[in-house]
Assembly symmetry: C2
Homo-oligomer: 264 residues x 2
């Protein structure tokens, strides 16, 4: 019951932030550089973050809000203390900046470290993915499931991404890239981990692996996948912990062990 | 003048084929397997091909038509004889089958081996990319140019794809993948070479390389890039020849030599 209030708030804020993103997509805007040129912070990014963060703090002043742009404002509180919101106001910033129409707003909520609400909103296609713990995943209000027809890695359409920091010790991260790419149906790199997780939850992709993501990149999306019948772990096969930096493997479940083995 | 008639015909047929694709996207349809499971031929694919091929043959009976589905009907005529149409009725078939909204219709025309008309149509976003030799490239009727702001590979958003046949001798094709991925801003794999070339022509991507494509995958898109101010070669830096199997590097021009060097 209470989760429903949280979900409704997250949906409203995601849609409002999405309106900002949609209205500015393809246009000119002030550009900024964060840790590297891949990680372009735009005016839009900051506006969307402010909108969501302000909205959450006004409504739930006791909650912790962890976001990409104002991570430091988390005030030293650690995830696991009561309610923690994970906000990525514009996942796929590089896509947005270059004009590739694949980006989203991602808002997740955990309670004592356990994900309870997840919202991923694609403002360009107006696709709203929502999940509540124990209540399944919906796309624009209709229940969706992971792809349950593809049971082997050889049939899987996988997706991955490369750290935005090109100096990160080897963007292929020591993984056996040749092995994994030879094992699957094919591989994509679409540029937004949160939206890629949402695509897994509705069967458009079969699995994802990625290194060096942040908690706010995957919080909402991993609940979408889990509630849609899929499986989410770290690359060692352990339960995902929402640490600041993390690795993730998520899939329809059927291919999960094969995926982890191919990555090892 | 004459090219304009060809362009108008190609646009009409691409839009009609696009209507078929759009109306069936996300739905159920009969699936078939071609050379491998990545290369799913759908009913939609065949319908769109029939529509385009029939339309071109009715209007230009003396022209050769080379298409993905009925390649053999080219009747032994080789590209280079007068007018040759290169038709990919649904580039990004795997995306279409899985439900990833990134696919297109691609129609190119060459005259004595030289590309003269190119049309790439994204039916899901209703984006029409057109080019005529010597007259530039347009997106929905408005002139576009390649990205002229990013002059170095380190700023480039690159894209690539992997052969649909997973048995093709190493999908990474002996390229120095680690080197190229460490050299660019970031890398995508969006799943439709024709639409990726169109994205280069309007500055959304900076460069592409790919192995093992077919002439109909790249004919239209490579004219889009060239007429938008970019550069198109094979991976050795030679002019692109529209052979059955080919490799391609295309870019905004500025990064082209750096791209080729990183791939060698």
């Amino acid at each position: 019951m209470e989760n429903t209030v949280y979900l409704e708030t997250a949906v409203t804020l995601a849609q409002q932030a999405g309106d900002i993103i949609r209205s500015r997509f393809g246009g000119d805007f002030e550009r900024g550089f964060k840790s590297g040129p891949s990680d372009l912070v735009t005016e839009v990014d900051r506006q969307a973050e402010d909108l969501i963060t302000t909205g959450l703090r006004a409504k739930f002043p006791a909650h912790t809000v962890i976001g990409e742009e104002n991570d430091s404002t988390a005030g030293g509180q650690e995830p696991g203390d009561d309610y923690t919101w994970y906000v990525d106001p514009l996942d796929g910033t590089t896509n947005f900046v270059y004009g590739i129409p694949f980006c989203c707003v991602s808002i997740g909520l955990s309670y004592h470290g356990r994900l309870t609400v997840g919202v991923v909103y694609d403002p360009l296609r107006r696709e709203l993915f929502t999940a509540e713990l124990g209540r399944g995943t919906c796309l624009n209000g209709r229940p969706v499931r992971v792809d349950e027809t593809r049971k082997y890695l050889s049939d899987a359409l996988l997706v991955t991404g490369y750290p935005s920091d090109k100096n990160y010790g080897g963007r292929l991260s020591g993984l056996n890239y040749q092995k994994i790419i030879a094992s699957c149906n094919n591989l994509r790199a679409l540029g937004s981990a949160a939206l890629e997780l949402a695509y897994i939850s509705c069967g458009r992709l079969t699995g994802i692996w990625e290194n060096t993501l942040m908690s706010w990149d995957v919080a909402a999306g991993s609940l979408l996948v889990a509630e849609a019948g899929g499986r989410v772990t770290d690359l060692a096969g352990n339960p995902l912990e929402l640490r600041r930096y993390l690795s993730i493997a998520a899939s329809n479940g059927f291919i999960h062990n094969e995926l982890l083995q191919s990555l090892s």
